[in-house]
Symmetry: C2
Subunit: 505 residues, 2 copies
């Protein structure tokens, strides 16, 4: 075997085993959130730490590194097949990045966030921000240390963002979110001034557990989730996790926040799951670094697409409302028109995860602006709660009366996840771009929705998004599918079309 | 740090991580048997193989080995604490043994048994022993190769037995099983000649799933299974598995073999689980090689003790029959006396896992005698089916009409588990010895059973069995608890007492 053949063989094998280790880690996490006895928590944390340390050691292993760098030499790389060139290049980026972060830093961050999470949890319960503040400061210091280690060009925040949304820049987000912020607040203002807004009533009829479960089963069938490769279980916070190419699991929660929480969370997670199942698990990219999603934003575009563009769509409900009524034995006298309004009510609220489709991105933009200011040291940890409340007032017109309902509501910062929040808004924007592109490619989309024929939609997503895996950056995949990268205008147009009609503006 | 301190520190850490890896492997297995989507099977096998290879590499790692051998030097060992001496000695035995088996052999065995299992499964379904025969021959060849590698003194079979029942010898088993065989066939003959035997009727009233589940929940509470450290789920074959000191899971099956299958399998597995929970997880042996069961036979003694000595006991049912009737809404007019007879019926049958308490060990002895003959090359793979049928006739007075109901019924040989079967009978014998010893130590045992007060029994087992872990061999632990090692006579006396009364002999 030549050195190059040897290297190709080695990296193929190593990527496969890293992907197996990833699946094992996913099982440990899934079990913890679903079925694990409560007393097992400490040992489970040790098991997860041990496994992720082992996986990391293999990722940054010198032999692996040398094989990858051999393949990336200017004299070698062009001699490889296109496939191998893509794999070798991508892998080099990942491994080079991972090797910049010493295990001692990862351990320090992990210990700091473990304590910070506890402090956050306690502070949120007792509305005592000052208890969390010193932990947040430590995390910010570590974020700066991380930026020094992994430093990308441009603003510091680029480095953090890149871990979740590779290739995306702070500048692009600042521009797009500026447009979005202005347009959304204007649209929200128009809505809150309508008569319909002032007379709308929230849905309050609860649906029994059994009926909700029956509904979930119907949804999975309708969205063609393969029952021999997936599961639906219950957890406090709904999530999707991938244990293997043929083992993708989602969860829901039947006891939270209104009668449709489980319905919409099941669809949302199904969107994530269908994406995972559609990644290039067959062919030359199987078990390679390409066989994965390129960004959290693109992942979120899949969940939000099914949740909002499909399952909050009037045509979808033309088909599904009778089924819904028959299955749940509730809302049986509601008309399609009334139902469509009911499930699309806009109502500015304090909590992000309870936000409606329209106001959701304002919650995200708020966090993005605060993160940026914190990282750039234009805002201090002490000033943060007031800054939060001021922005809530500016963006949504309401002000939290407690930090529990304000700055302490999300766990992300306690986990050191700076740079993560924007991906929620990116996903929403991409979803609207995808919806616009599908409408263009499928003039009969409306008929498909009315007849409950969703396969053409999934096929389109498989073809334009899923099959590429990480072959390109998320924004490049969107550009190929929709003609443009991240584009708030398309999203705003989609929202205007929808809400002008809903609120007779 | 001195070299000895360094070694002690190293082996402590390594044992802890090996135990964490064991827990991860257990989760992979548990999930496969309970919730895993069917299509995930191939990747799951890869995940399990990867993890067990990694654990094995760490077990036979040179640095680990050198630290262990340093501690076992004649000049060092006596300077250690008693605890550390026990650990170092045990660990040396385990690691020395593991290092005798090259990974290439383990891989070969694993591939051979994977194919053999498939062939067995197909052969059993289609009653085609000849399909399985060449695979069995390959496995027997590998068993011989294994004996060459791990060779213990005495008969070849000692080496195989030792993996499941450390310290037990073929000679002891041959003697004890000879007694047992003679006495059991005599007793069985006496029973089948009684009037009661010829008039007894099997239990046929099925119990609904919901009632069976309610019964299982009551059992877990009665047997004091801690709900924050355990789970009960459903799988095809009931089993117990340990994911951590505070995470022991059992399964049952509500759809098999008669109305009491789930009831007795839940108790059986609870016996295993209570043992696992009672191992020395606190104190100096936590996470060490001592914090484990010394043998499968001793483990089986715990499950069979609760299943047979307690849950088939007349005094237990004095307490539990009203609860059973109230919970299941079945058998509500059956008297205690009738019920006690009903659940203790003897009925020679072809299938081991459906056997009653009395005939069960005859099934095991049959397999032991055949295994011994195969390993000693006194019996060929071609002669095996006829030998099986002949022995069934000699021991149980019945003859299978198909190999599916005969030699092909158990999967063990397809997995290369030669030496495993005897542990089922060892467990039954030990269980009777424990029952006799508890009766002696607790003259009020009968009152405890009649009042459903089972804690004193568990406390006795914790004190005499569980707390020792692997500090001694199984037979030595039994000797300390009961005054004698493996003793078929005690078991036979227990059976005679019980069945003479039941069948008016």
């Amino acid at each position: 075997m030549t050195q190059t053949e040897d290297a190709l063989h080695y990296i193929q094998h190593e990527q496969h085993e890293l992907s197996l280790l990833g699946g094992i880690g996913a099982l440990l996490g899934w079990d913890q959130m679903t079925y694990m006895p409560t007393q097992a928590i400490t040992e489970r944390a040790d098991q997860m730490a041990l496994l992720s340390r082992h996986a990391h050691e293999r990722l940054i292993n010198d032999t692996f590194y040398h094989h990858i760098h051999h393949l990336n030499q200017p004299t070698i790389l062009p001699t490889l097949t296109d496939t191998d060139q893509y794999i070798a290049t991508r892998l080099k980026q990942d491994v080079d990045k991972a090797r910049k972060i010493p295990p001692s830093f990862t351990e320090k961050l992990s210990k700091t966030t473990a304590l910070a999470y506890q402090a956050w949890d306690h502070a949120r319960t007792h509305n005592t921000y000052q208890e969390f503040a010193p932990h947040l400061q430590k995390i910010l210091d570590l974020e700066h240390e991380y930026c020094d280690l992994a430093r990308l060009p441009g603003p510091l925040y680029n480095t953090l963002l890149d871990d979740y949304e590779e290739g995306m820049t702070t500048q692009t987000l600042t521009n797009e979110f500026h447009t979005l912020r202005t347009q959304l607040t204007t649209l929200l203002n128009a809505i809150t001034n309508t008569d319909r807004y002032h007379t709308q009533q929230p849905l309050t009829d609860t649906i029994t557990l059994t009926h909700q479960q029956a509904l979930s089963t119907q949804l999975l069938t309708l969205l063609t989730m393969p029952s021999d490769q997936t599961r639906l279980d219950v957890s406090t916070h709904p999530f999707t996790t991938t244990l293997g190419d043929h083992d993708v699991r989602i969860t829901t929660n039947y006891e939270r926040d209104g009668p449709l929480f489980a319905f919409y969370s099941t669809i949302h997670e199904t969107g994530h799951a269908l994406y995972e199942l559609g990644l290039p698990h067959q062919g030359p990219y199987k078990d390679t670094v390409i066989d994965d999603a390129p960004s959290l934003g693109l992942h979120e575009s899949q969940s939000r697409f099914w949740e909002n563009m499909i399952a909050r769509n009037q045509h979808f409900w033309t088909y599904f409302l009778p089924i819904f009524q028959h299955t749940t034995h509730h809302y049986t006298t509601t008309t399609l028109d009334q139902w469509y309004h009911d499930i699309n009510q806009v109502h500015p609220s304090l909590i992000r995860i309870e936000a409606d489709e329209l106001t959701y991105c304002l919650h995200v933009i708020l966090r993005f602006e605060l993160e940026l200011a914190l990282i750039d040291e234009k805002l201090t940890v002490q000033e943060l709660p007031d800054a939060w409340n001021q922005k809530m007032h500016d963006l949504l017109g309401i002000t939290p009366t407690t930090d529990t309902d304000g700055v302490l509501q999300d766990m992300h910062w306690s986990g050191g996840d700076f740079g993560y929040f924007p991906t929620y808004a990116i996903g929403s924007i991409y979803a609207a771009q995808l919806y616009t592109a599908i409408q263009h490619d499928h003039p009969d989309l409306q008929t498909n929705l009315i007849t409950g024929h969703l396969t053409p939609i999934l096929t389109w997503l498989r073809h334009h998004i899923h099959q590429y895996g990480r072959l390109y950056n998320a924004d490049d995949i969107i550009k190929r599918a929709c003609g443009k990268g991240l584009d708030s205008h398309t999203y705003v147009n989609y929202l205007k079309n929808k809400y002008y009609d809903l609120y007779d503006i």
